[in-house]
Symmetry: C2
Subunit: 351 residues, 2 copies
């Protein structure tokens, strides 16, 4: 038997947050690519576009006029997937035709009045404002709803339908599949090992160093050992923190700082405004606020679609949809993403 080398030999890795496996076949990066090529992102986004419903002072689909906001701006999604008052489908169902009521709220949150900035291009104080607004929303909406999902789709390739810097908040009266699974996995680990899964994981990664991409005294950004997407990232505080609203003032500032550094690295990678979907997972809220959730650790997932360049993405298709997720490079191969602070030149190239 040859000696096992993860860069050469395909293998499976275990994702303890989802209790599932991922196929790592690093040698696949060598295959030629003649498939679909994405359009690179729009080069010149105007700072203000009179037709963009997210810009200050503009009128939205429902006739409402946005204020002349100067920092963040939150409003109810004009086409919400979740509404507070949907009727119940009723009980007494065949086991193969089961449905349940789904209630909730969907909000949109603009990060900045300008359309031509992104989080890494914003000032640190401006990013702190975004984080403070997240904290406020989790606190407010979390009083009633068991799950408050904050997420950002960035870039047209990630289905983002508006280039203005923004995220969404969808809260529901149910614990969605992904957090429900993550809750079960973290609880099981805690019961068995007596410590939170992600705290132990962060400790291990901080020692090993080989997958750490950015770190500070409060935060750690790492390509998880079980990453699915080529440049997937896990961002988490070093201290045991259950939810965004448990962060100290210092930790919020540290978060703004590490987010800016991480996202600048992303932009550096292929010299493009890097697309991704990201979102926060923290302990459930609403009725769960009264429970013991010590098994939880706050974290953000970043899922970027690109594989080889600004225009060639990883397709999670046939084998991945039908059988199992598969990646074409090891998580260790992506830890050395370089960091160049924004210069005017780079900034112009990236906006």
């Amino acid at each position: 038997d040859a000696r096992f080398d993860p860069k050469e030999h395909q293998h499976l890795r275990y994702n303890p947050l989802r209790d599932s496996w991922i196929l790592v076949s690093a040698h696949r990066m060598k295959r030629p690519w003649a498939g679909q090529v994405e359009k690179p992102p729009e080069e010149q986004i105007p700072r203000y576009d009179p037709r963009n419903p997210l810009c200050p002072g503009n009128t939205r689909a429902n006739g409402e006029v946005n204020p002349d906001y100067e920092s963040t701006f939150v409003f109810d999604n004009d086409f919400p997937a979740l509404q507070p008052d949907a009727p119940d489908p009723g009980a007494d169902q065949h086991p193969l035709f089961q449905s349940k009521a789904a209630r909730g709220v969907c909000k949109v949150m603009c990060f900045h009045p300008w359309s031509d900035v992104t989080l890494p291009l914003m000032k640190k104080e401006e990013v702190v404002k975004v984080i403070e607004k997240w904290v406020e929303l989790v606190e407010e909406i979390g009083i009633t709803y068991p799950w408050v999902q904050i997420f950002e789709n960035k870039g047209a390739v990630m289905g983002c339908s508006n280039p203005h810097p923004h995220c969404q908040v969808w809260a529901s009266n149910f614990l969605p599949n992904e957090p429900a699974l993550s809750d079960r996995c973290q609880r099981k680990y805690y019961e068995k090992h007596g410590e939170p899964l992600l705290l132990e994981y962060a400790k291990q990664e901080a020692e090993k160093k080989e997958r750490v991409v950015v770190e500070s005294s409060d935060w750690l950004a790492v390509v998880p050992y079980w990453a699915t997407w080529p440049y997937q990232m896990l961002l988490l505080p070093r201290r045991h923190v259950l939810r965004l609203n448990d962060l100290t003032t210092e930790e919020r500032e540290g978060l703004a700082d590490i987010m800016k550094r991480l996202l600048t690295k992303y932009d550096n990678l292929f010299e493009v405004s890097f697309p991704y979907s990201m979102g926060w997972h923290g302990a459930p809220t609403g009725p769960h606020l009264k429970e013991n959730n010590s098994h939880w650790q706050l974290h953000a997932h970043y899922y970027p679609p690109l594989l080889r360049s600004a225009t060639v993405k990883k397709f999670m298709v046939g084998y991945e949809m039908l059988a199992q997720e598969q990646r074409d490079l090891t998580p260790e191969q992506v830890n050395n993403i370089t960091y160049t602070p924004y210069t005017t030149k780079l900034r112009t190239a990236l906006v």
Copy 2:
């Protein structure tokens, strides 16, 4: 309370094959779309391209020359994600850094010598040949490997890197996540209800009719009650059949027929060669051949990416990746896909 109307009111539906829920928010179809628009598929694919490694007589990346094949043609993938001899990562691992050996084979199977046809455009006898080759491969490779995944990625938008009509076969020494989950769900249902989940489901759908898209005496194609993708389809035999190689000669012919009709409906829908990823799920093989797998029922999943037109797809992004899958129209709204047999004109429009 208003009366519940699935076309108007968001709700959750249960997927009994994956033990998970999906959010159905039909009213979201009304939202305007200013996001990414896909390139429509290439219009003129030459019947023979001297540079295409899948055409008869051409030389592939590894120097091998394809025979002048006249029906199907199977060869080993030149860039396999799974190889038969990968070494073992070794035991004695931290619970958060677990890896396992992955071994297997990856094959490519051309459907036809011509690059300018697709399954719905091929003659019925030619599609029967494809099915017979599938049967042969499952039988042969299934002797040793517990899972033989047959899948087709069709269309550049589904990550297909070659327009020549073909599918892939990836077999592994492990049961991948998706079939492992499906196995657990089908087994649990069988233990509780004493009959195979999908047989009972097919019986119910054949009576209800509202989600049936094509049917014959042997086969049923239905938009599952729990469909995730807008035009997702479940194709299954009416008789209790565990694996592709258990189909009778008649059932194979019936399959060729229903596949042609289903895929022609897909092509009709947006008047485009319809993209999708599809694959077969049957009872596990290899060491599982000796077990009782009565809980299993053979079926194919079709996952097409399009939502609104030939160029606007459904993005499974932020909320879907972080929280839960969400669809913008009900499965019942897609059952009336019209069927027009191929005319020369339509054929020219679609190839």
